[in-house]
């Protein structure tokens, strides 16, 4: 519903996240990282069964959206989820839903009066 300034900000922050997660492979990578608590690029390639090049690209997009973080460990890059971003997105949708609930109640009163 019509956003308050705080809500508009939360929504805006969530948009790159929704965009990044609008892809099945990336969503599978996120779920995998959530389940295992982290993993190397090689672990993730094995988990989602796509090429290393493709996985690297997907992980970069997730990192851009700040959904995952990485650090180099020896020759491999280690990845982990940044789950607070998912919570932000969830909160933004909840706030919008609550506003629509309120608007629909006002519509109901308006029509039934």
């Amino acid at each position: 519903m019509r956003p308050t300034p705080e809500h508009a900000r939360a929504l805006r922050a969530a948009v790159p996240l929704f965009s990044a997660l609008g892809d099945e492979t990336r969503l599978r990578l996120v779920l995998r990282l959530a389940k295992d608590g982290g993993g190397s690029t090689a672990d993730l390639c094995a988990a989602v069964e796509v090429t290393r090049q493709a996985v690297s690209k997907h992980l970069e997009i997730l990192e851009d959206a700040k959904l995952v973080r990485s650090r180099r460990q020896g020759r491999e890059r280690q990845w982990e989820l940044a789950p607070e971003r998912l919570q932000d997105a969830h909160d933004a949708l909840d706030a919008i839903g609550a506003r629509w609930d309120a608007a629909l109640r006002r519509l109901q009163h308006f029509v039934e009066r």
């Binding site: 019509r2 508009a8 790159p16 965009s19 969503l27 959530a34 789950p83 607070e84 519509l107």
Partner: protein
Amino acid sequence: LQIMNHVERDIVVHAPRSKVWRAITTLSSFGSWFEVAFDGAEETFRVGATVRGAITSQGHEGLPFEAVATVVEPEHTLAFRWPHLPQPDEDAGPVWTTVTFTLTERGATTHVAVREEGFDALPASRRRTDAERNGEGWGIQVERIKRFVEG
């Protein structure tokens, strides 16, 4: 497997569908319950026409309201696109989402469903936030993700 990036809400109204349809498509009525004062340039939602006004809700008075209808299927579907405008300190364009009202007759009552979607549409330029917070327990996060994902 799909990310949940829409909002759906519904309500049953004790009124005939035609009455509910007028309440959502006639701008003076829409403005009453949605809390927006329209500028008077348009009387109803029409496909392709932009309607403008100002929010009258307490605490948010004067915020701009803008919407462009994309579907007007009498007594059944009203859809419009609207911008979620950035704050002055944000380096971003508006995020446009789509709102769809669907009316269904249920005896003497009307079921009203509203769906807002398009939260994955990137604005013209992205704002990068540097705020990083500490994560929480993984179990909770997995539950959250599961709730968040459908299919």
